[in-house]
Symmetry: C2
Subunit: 495 residues, 2 copies
């Protein structure tokens, strides 16, 4: 067996264990009784340790080197697979075990403190933990950066969005920051002239679930290969052949769960569409978090908040809940889906203000990793950034720098992927409308197969064969930019 094939065998085993971890993670969030938590933590830690040991075993480095000298014997997918193996090995092997353990302990401890600190609006309580995590993340970033030939912050980014460059993100985010304030202003002005869309009532969970699964199936979610369940924090998990998405229901507002399900369905369709012949191999996985988010935002924001989609869905929504009257008409439902608001909370934000939340976090975390901003200065820096980006700022940390778990749980470099995903989604959808005649008409008639086929061919089936930049350009004919996103926002919110 060649070195490459021995690597494939090893990564197949790692991939199978990671699938098991993913199913157990879903179970933890959606099925497990609370008393199972400690035992589950040990099961997951044991399986994670096994995959880590498999990945950093001494022979892997040798196999990688041997396989890389015989690159010409490999096909295109195999070469890409080998590149992804190298990348995964590098991230796993770069950091000394003691530092990995220190990170894991610091994050577990800080997360607990953060939950209470957020509730009690007590930033000072969590500051020592945050400082400790930052020290560790800076060290990890420096070590990985040296191996990757990148800055420390880019090395952290690379964990979530392989190959992401700060130069590109800076340029894109600066462009967005340039046009966003006027756009928000304009959207709010236009919106103020409309009557506020109101539907009130009680929407039983079973009806909401029925509506969600009906639309999921219509869009292309295959329940022979997936499930929809309930969890406190909605997510998409499971495996490509068995995709598990979750939501939570609010009986006084059906749109929250519905749009959440459609968002997760976008993630799910990506998972399901990954290349079956490369299952369990690194190259068969989703490209990165930006591309993953682009698939959820393509479905939720681009498709399902469009007037075309509501043309199809409004009668089904009315039928589900027995709705009648002006609030239930297509246009009223549409206006309801595109409300803009200058809020404090990222996860509640609309697609217009969302990038502002992301950009300010990106700038702050970069400054902290660079050593230019101390955690103790975060509350003041946060308020200043909010006022600059959104024109409003909360008078407390609970709705400010304590609102997101990411920094307190070691996920530094993750935030930018949300907005990169929004840019990719807009660019993909614009390209799809160009390539598929009458796409919006098809959507208005509830026909999603043309779009799904397009995105399967252009994105899902590629797995991780290309870089994100190559994938965007090959799918849309253009390098990643902000123009499609800006056009989308202007069309929807200003015209």
């Amino acid at each position: 067996m060649t070195a490459y094939h021995r690597l494939e065998e090893r990564f197949r085993r790692i991939g199978a264990i990671e699938q098991a971890i993913s199913v157990l993670h879903w179970d933890t969030a959606s099925m497990m009784p609370e008393g199972g938590a400690a035992a589950r933590a040990e099961q997951l830690a044991t399986l994670r340790l096994i995959t880590h040991q498999d990945l950093v075993a001494p022979e892997v480095e040798e196999l990688l080197a041997n396989a890389e000298v015989s690159l010409n014997d490999l096909g295109e997918w195999q070469r890409a697979n080998l590149r992804e193996m190298r990348r995964r090995w590098l991230h796993a092997a770069a950091v000394p075990g003691a530092l990995v353990e220190a990170e894991s302990r610091a994050c577990s401890e800080c997360e607990v403190v953060w939950r209470r600190a957020r509730m009690q609006n007590d930033f000072a309580a969590v500051l020592p933990g945050l400082e400790r995590i930052l020290r560790i993340e800076r060290e990890i970033g420096a070590i990985k950066g040296e191996r990757l030939g990148t800055s420390p912050y880019e090395a952290l980014l690379d964990q979530y969005e392989p190959g992401a460059s700060v130069a590109l993100i800076d340029r894109l985010f600066d462009e967005i920051a340039g046009f966003l304030p006027d756009l928000i202003e304009g959207a709010l002005d236009r919106q103020a002239a409309l009557p506020p869309p109101i539907i009130s009532g009680s929407f039983p969970v079973e009806k909401q679930r029925g509506l969600a699964t009906r639309l999921m199936e219509r869009i292309g979610f295959d329940f022979a290969h997936g499930r929809l369940d309930i969890s406190a924090h909605p997510f998409c998990g499971g495996t490509p052949d068995d995709v598990r998405i979750t939501t939570r229901y609010n009986e006084s507002d059906f749109a929250c769960a519905l749009m959440g399900v459609l968002h997760e369905t976008g993630h799910a369709l990506y998972q399901r569409g990954l290349p079956a012949e490369w299952r369990l191999q690194p190259v068969g996985r989703a490209r990165g978090m930006a591309m993953h988010e682009s698939q959820s935002l393509l479905l939720e924001m681009q498709v399902c908040r469009s007037r075309a989609f509501l043309t199809y869905a409004a009668p089904i929504i009315r039928e589900t809940f027995g709705g009648a009257g002006p609030g239930w008409q297509i246009d009223a439902l549409y206006q309801r889906q595109i409300r803009v608001r200058r809020g404090f909370i990222r996860v509640d934000a609309d697609e217009v203000t969302y990038p502002a939340h992301v950009i300010l976090r990106y700038r702050l975390e970069r400054a902290m990793i660079a050593g230019d901003l101390r955690p103790s200065e975060l509350p003041i820096a946060w308020a200043a950034a909010m006022r600059e980006m959104l024109g409003v700022a909360p008078d407390n940390d609970r709705e400010g720098c304590l609102q997101d778990i990411h920094w307190y749980d070691g996920n530094w470099g993750y935030f930018p992927t949300y907005t990169l995903g929004a840019l990719i989604a807009a660019q993909l959808f614009e390209a799809a409308r160009r390539d598929i005649p009458d796409l919006m008409q098809a959507i208005a008639e509830g026909e999603f197969a043309p779009l799904l086929g397009w995105v399967r061919e252009r994105v899902h089936s590629k797995g991780s064969r290309l870089s994100t930049a190559e994938l965007v350009e090959s799918a849309t004919g253009q390098p990643l930019g902000t123009a499609s996103f800006e056009r989308h926002l202007r069309d929807r919110y200003l015209s």
Copy 2:
């Protein structure tokens, strides 16, 4: 670290992986969409291979030997743990890899053929597969028997019921076979004089589930550490801190699911009551399949089919389904729970005829393993044994030697544990009634804590510290026998 502690560490890891396997197995049966089957098979095969490799790694044999020379340094539980480690290692390491693989393949292939053969009543179709499995099981039995110092059949038994002796089982089963025919005859005679108990109607799944969970909780099942779900074949799985039981509902008969749930609840309480300080270690596990079955039969047969239990439960059952009239009275419900019938199918059998089904299978599988009975002769031998044990025989193999999966899936030596479990259950319950004043009165009032406390202390908390024989004797003051079981049957069915 001593050899013993290194073994504990290794078995802790094996135990955690086995817990993960158990949760995934539950998911496969109760949650997984059909399209996830192939990926799940690979996940499970990968995890099973890891535990097998961990168990048979060369250093384990050395560690066991080193630990065993320092027995005096170990406490009582540690010594028992070491004995169980040795036993697990022996079963895993005794058989060459090629034979393990041949068994696995033969069973997978035969099981598929068996499903069709049973449906089509075509024993000839599955005969070659059965012959192949028998050859393999005889070889495994011979190899393990040599290592264990037992006969081949006892070595197979030992996989499910450690330390079981054929001499004891023969004696117990011969005693049962001696009194059973008259007892069945007598029970049927007495029953014939009673009006047939009939409740008909429609029993919605949600109401059945509500009744089941209400009784489960009352009996002591803790939903903070477990769940009740649906699967095609009811079972008890999960882990001691997160016990997952399943059932299936028949809307025209509430008693099937209810008694099934109470049976699995018995298994679940055993799991839950295993010694927490020995979690993940071999000595912390259930003692064997006979003891496990004793716990389900103790609850289902001894407790929940008693008139005392129905005194408590009848009003709740009536309230659940809005039942009224003579069929819903305590005595009518009780008579319904203790109907006896000479049937062909083991899984539908009542507790009086059940041992007959088990004894004939035990005798036939022993004869096949010994080489005294050829699989081709099985249908004729089956009919003869049925007539001898039960006085009736089916005119087809579907209701005869094709009915159970065990032989076609490699589970030779399993059958006796059902009836050993019934004997232990009767003996335990008799001892509990002797030790706990007014136990039946407590049950009639829906008070189960005294019984649960007794069985927790005497059985559950012991894990695998004692052998089954020692455990029965320490809990009841008597060696395992048939007297309690016979008294129980005579009391309930003849007096």
